[in-house]
């Protein structure tokens, strides 16, 4: 699922049961907070600042949502990769937590 702008953005599908809830958002934000420039999550026409849990939550991403993660500075490529891995790995959460 890598598009032409592969260096700056990735498209991922939310696979974990709970979607982007507070804990998973917190994990993304923790990574995004180390970035040099802004990192965005896009869903449809809306976008959220990946370093803000609250902003991520307002995107209301349930399981199966397609989102695009994008960076503004190539130096943040590692963080982009890490967030992608986190999302695709379902945040490694046990199935029974909510």
């Amino acid at each position: 699922m890598i598009d032409s702008n592969s260096e700056l953005s990735r498209e991922v599908i939310i696979v974990n049961e709970l979607g982007l809830h507070a804990r998973s958002a917190a994990k993304i934000a923790a990574l995004a907070n180390h970035s040099k420039a802004s990192i965005w999550l896009k869903k449809g026409k809306e976008r959220a600042d990946a370093s803000s849990i609250l902003d991520i939550l307002t995107l209301a991403c349930e399981k199966g949502s397609k989102i695009t993660i994008s960076i503004e500075n190539k130096a943040d490529a590692d963080i982009l990769a890490a967030i992608t891995e986190l999302v695709e790995g379902g945040f490694k959460e046990p199935a029974d937590l909510k």
């Binding site: 979607g19 507070a22 804990r23 917190a26 803000s52 849990i53 609250l54 939550l57 209301a60």
Partner: protein
């Protein structure tokens, strides 16, 4: 400004006796202090931002402290981690700082605006999980707010004036968040005599007037007010002469109380030699000393909810055990009746309830809650069984409405004992087990329930509420909350008759037991033990000493022919008016 204000008298309901004079301290609906808005000068803006950052840091340190103490397997530890992250979230932290700078306003107001915007965003979301996240945001914000306004509270302490709380309503959880060292009395807009606020005020022995309707709209912070908990009035901006008059009344009342207390330690024995145990209801371990002071023969109701308030996790077994042990040891050999957790919507743990019940009185509370949360229940049962090795303990299960519940509760108590045995911890399973009779179905099924317990304890407040369908906190119908309603008297008699037939003991621990003019009736019904707010003990003992139990039995027959609460009350007055006259004297004095 204050000097020209006119004296205003506001009438309410007298919920807890006593008189206090002091400065008003308003608490708004959410239990967070009224937020003031004021401009910050350009040169002070960076300091205001610093003040905000300091409050956030303090909240962060507090959360880290709680996290450290919480066992990892607890789910809510994750919630706390999220809260920790939220503290520094751009949309909260960042925006507050921006708002302070851009609008040149104080940090409290900036926080308030940012939060109400965020709350709106979340509340319009469709996903119920996300909708609930607004609660997290509000909790985090409340935390910061408390630390922001903390400086003001220090000021109040610094002027060495204790305050009078003015609120629309206070939940029990809120009441225990408030530093009681600094609270002289309560006044609230809502509530009736038997509301939780009133009960708590009485148990803490501070004056309270409730059901004031307009109090919070007319009284401002720092206004001088007099609270007369005897006659149920509040005087705003009292004149010099009113102040003098009330200072005198306050002294009079305290003297009267001292006289009543003097012979309270002697046993309560009727004229014909029947001895009754007069016990106290307590909520906090600290109340034990007041109870003994008032001459209580034991604890008839130890409410255990307080240890569950004001925190985000459940108290552990050892912590509970320590608290129970303290009380049991001090009371030894007098009995301590520990009522298991009676949590409901009104007394909810922070974070434990993410949903709101539309009808908490009929919801998941007390034994229902405990049976649904076996681990929480088991921790408490183990703590009680362990404390029972230090004195005279009885266990009381609240809100029993079916036979199944008492059977399950007993089974879990046995399991708790077995697990303690396995762990090699000392415990005492040989304790009396009781069922609270506070739901009409339990009254009807009393004969079946009696087979499984050693005693019944009638909780009149809930029994009246459920039987007459009266919300005791609703001032529109509070006047219909009538302990003397013939339906209630018949229910009490039925339960007492069953208890005698099944040879188990019958106690009463509701408010009704602490009202002097109910005593002749309760003796006639055959109560073995009455338990009440500690400060009522001396008065009730005095009434019992002046009664003849044989007479009260024939009096009961007459009472049972009455058809209304009013005629029952008239009959009591006509028959026992002279014995109760001292009480009436005190009531007359309140006017």
């Amino acid at each position: 400004m204050k000097s020209i204000a006119e004296e205003i008298i506001i009438k309410g309901i007298n919920a807890s006796p006593g008189i206090c004079i002091g400065k008003a301290y308003r608490v708004d609906r959410e239990g967070v202090e009224i937020v003031e808005k004021y401009k910050i000068q350009a040169k002070d803006l960076s300091n205001e931002v610093k003040r905000f950052k300091a409050a956030v840091k303090k909240s962060r340190d507090e959360l880290l402290g709680i996290l450290k103490k919480s066992p990892e397997e607890l789910q809510h530890a994750h919630i706390l981690e999220t809260h920790l992250a939220l503290l520094k979230d751009k949309m909260l932290y960042g925006r507050c700082i921006e708002t302070i700078k851009q609008e040149s306003i104080n940090a409290e107001w900036a926080l308030k605006t940012v939060i109400s915007n965020l709350r709106e965003v979340f509340q319009t979301m469709i996903d119920p999980y996300l909708k609930e996240r607004s609660a997290d945001v509000v909790q985090v914000a409340d935390n910061i707010m408390r630390n922001l306004t903390g400086a003001k509270q220090v000021n109040i302490a610094a002027i060495k004036k204790r305050v009078i709380l003015v609120a629309q309503d206070l939940s029990p959880a809120e009441t225990c968040q408030i530093n009681l060292e600094r609270v002289k009395g309560f006044i609230t807009d809502r509530g009736g005599k038997a509301s939780h606020t009133g009960i708590i005020a009485r148990s803490l022995e501070i004056p309270a007037v409730v059901g004031l309707k307009e109090a919070t709209s007319t009284i401002r912070n720092d206004d001088l007010i007099i609270v007369d908990g005897n006659s149920g009035i509040v005087i705003l901006h009292p004149t010099e002469s009113t102040l003098l008059q009330y200072e005198e009344r306050k002294i009079d009342y305290e003297e009267y109380k001292a006289v009543i207390t003097r012979d309270s330690k002697a046993p309560a024995e009727s004229l014909d030699g029947v001895r009754l145990s007069v016990m106290g209801n307590i909520e906090l371990p600290e109340e034990v000393f007041a109870l003994l002071n008032y001459g209580g023969d034991g604890i008839g109701l130890y409410r255990t909810e307080f240890q569950y308030f004001n925190r985000t996790d459940f108290p552990g077994e050892d912590e509970l055990f320590d608290k129970y042990k303290d009380v049991v040891e001090v009371m030894h050999p007098k009995p301590v009746t520990i009522r298991t957790l009676d949590i409901n919507g009104d007394k909810a743990l922070t974070n434990q309830f993410n949903y709101e019940e539309t009808n908490p009185a009929l919801g998941l509370r007390a034994i229902r809650y405990c049976l649904k949360k076996p681990q929480v229940f088991k921790d408490q049962l183990r703590a009680i069984l362990r404390a029972a090795t230090f004195g005279n303990v009885r266990i009381l299960f609240p809100m029993i409405s079916t036979y199944f519940e008492i059977r399950e509760a007993t089974r879990m108590l046995d399991q708790a004992a077995e697990s303690l045995e396995k762990n090699g911890l000392p415990y005492n399973r040989d304790i009396e087990i009781g069922a609270m009779i506070e739901v009409p179905s339990a009254v009807i099924m009393a004969d079946v329930l009696a087979e499984n317990v050693d005693f019944f304890s009638i909780g009149t407040n809930d029994l009246i509420q459920y039987s007459l369908a009266i919300d005791r906190g609703n001032e529109q119908v509070a006047h219909l909350f009538q302990p003397l309603d013939p339906a209630i008297i018949r229910m009490l008699k039925h339960v007492a008759d069953v208890a005698r037939e099944k040879e188990i003991k019958i106690f009463m621990c509701g408010e009704m037991a602490g009202t002097p003019h109910h005593v002749p009736l309760l003796l006639g019904i055959g109560m073995d033990e009455l338990s009440m707010n500690p400060q009522s003990i001396p008065d009730i003992k005095r009434v019992i000493r002046s009664l003849n139990v044989a007479d009260t039995r024939s009096f009961l027959k007459e009472v049972l022919t009455q058809t209304t609460a009013k005629s029952t009350f008239e009959l009591i007055k006509a028959t026992y008016g002279s014995i109760l006259s001292e009480q009436m004297y005190s009531e007359g004095r309140k006017k």
